[in-house]
Amino acid sequence: MKNIYPLTAIASSFLIALSAPAKADEDAKLVVNDEIEMVTETAAPSHLEGLDTIYSGWTFRTDETQSLQMDDFDNPAFVFVDQAMDAWDKVEGSAEKSCSSCHGDVMESMKGVRAVYPKWNEEAGEVRTLVTQINACRTEQMGAEPWGYTSGKMASMEALISVPSRGMPVDVAIDGPAQSMWAKGKELYYTRFGQLELSCANCHEDNYGNMIRADHLSQGQVNGFPVYRLKNTKLNTAHARFKGCVRDTRAETFNPGSEEFIALELYVASRGNGLSVEAPSVRN
């Protein structure tokens, strides 16, 4: 009988270890450069029935990874932001214009832009992501070659354009002319793909906070994209991540820039309405 209590104690401590909190530090606050206060946890938008609270992917990371995003000199994404700053001023194409020829100072003219994309473009009659809008500028206004959808140059430019919107709430419109693309994105989100028969929701709505191998599953929010990943030490775009996710279900994936992924980006972005724009963020 003497042994029962110690054994029970061991068993219960094992259980406690198994049910460790979903996040490294529940009270951690994300403030960038001691200045930009980010909303990393807030009430889910009303259209979202599957979740009560939405969390930034930042909240699922370890202290060390979290701190990399808290200062722009610690955040490796900013070497790419610097490169995009040069590209912003670089004259390219037959019209002999640069981004700045029309848009001036990126920190002023692009304020708020990242927060509302993807967005319906009335003139083009389509939903445009930041990437398709940048390439429309390049081909139609500059007479320049478009950049690859998930290329380094494009990811860097997306990161630069996101910087002046950091801290602003994500606020993509889901009604009006964008509604049908949003509905298409929602359908994709809940559709099971691949040999593993997994939908986005199976992991990121039903199981966020649980472990997938040695990692915490996040809600799959895109408010931090493009993200600098410690794994591949470069900027990663939302569509490249979507492709990776679908591939991991052992399915044929959609292509970056496809109508499916644009619809999915609009829907996933709308699931984060209310979180702060964090891009460019740092993740594992």
């Binding site: 200062d71 000199f73 610690d74 490796p76 900013f78 070497v79 790419f80 610097d82 490169q83 030490t233």
Partner: protein, 109 residues
């Protein structure tokens, strides 16, 4: 790797004489370790930044010997004593012979 290498350095522009300040540096570089193989199974040759130095008015602050175990986009944080106004010089030495340099002036205020 001489293309696309871009240093970032954080130094306060104005300090008081004798003050100890924090410096952060980051440079974009692949830091190819020499341990990886390409799709055909051939070893990708090592190509790293092998040394980083920081001096102030010609005197050494820190001199770092770097090995392939330093991560892509090498980052360093350290402290420097600033006895007078002057200039920090940051230098990165590439395996391929390239040298990347960044300078930051500091005033006493």
């Amino acid at each position: 790797m001489a293309s696309g290498v871009k240093p970032r350095v954080k130094v306060p522009s104005s300090v008081s004489a004798g003050e100890v300040i924090e410096i952060k540096t980051l440079i974009s570089h692949k830091m190819e370790s020499g341990q990886r193989k390409d799709d055909d199974g051939n070893t990708i040759p090592r190509s790293i930044i092998n040394r980083f130095t920081c001096t102030f008015n010609g005197e050494t602050v820190i001199d770092v010997t770097m090995e392939p175990a330093i991560s892509t986009n090498p980052y360093f944080q350290f402290e420097a004593k600033v006895p007078e106004a002057g200039e920090f010089v940051f230098t990165w030495y590439d395996d391929d012979g390239s040298v990347y340099e960044e300078k930051k002036s500091v005033t006493i205020g």
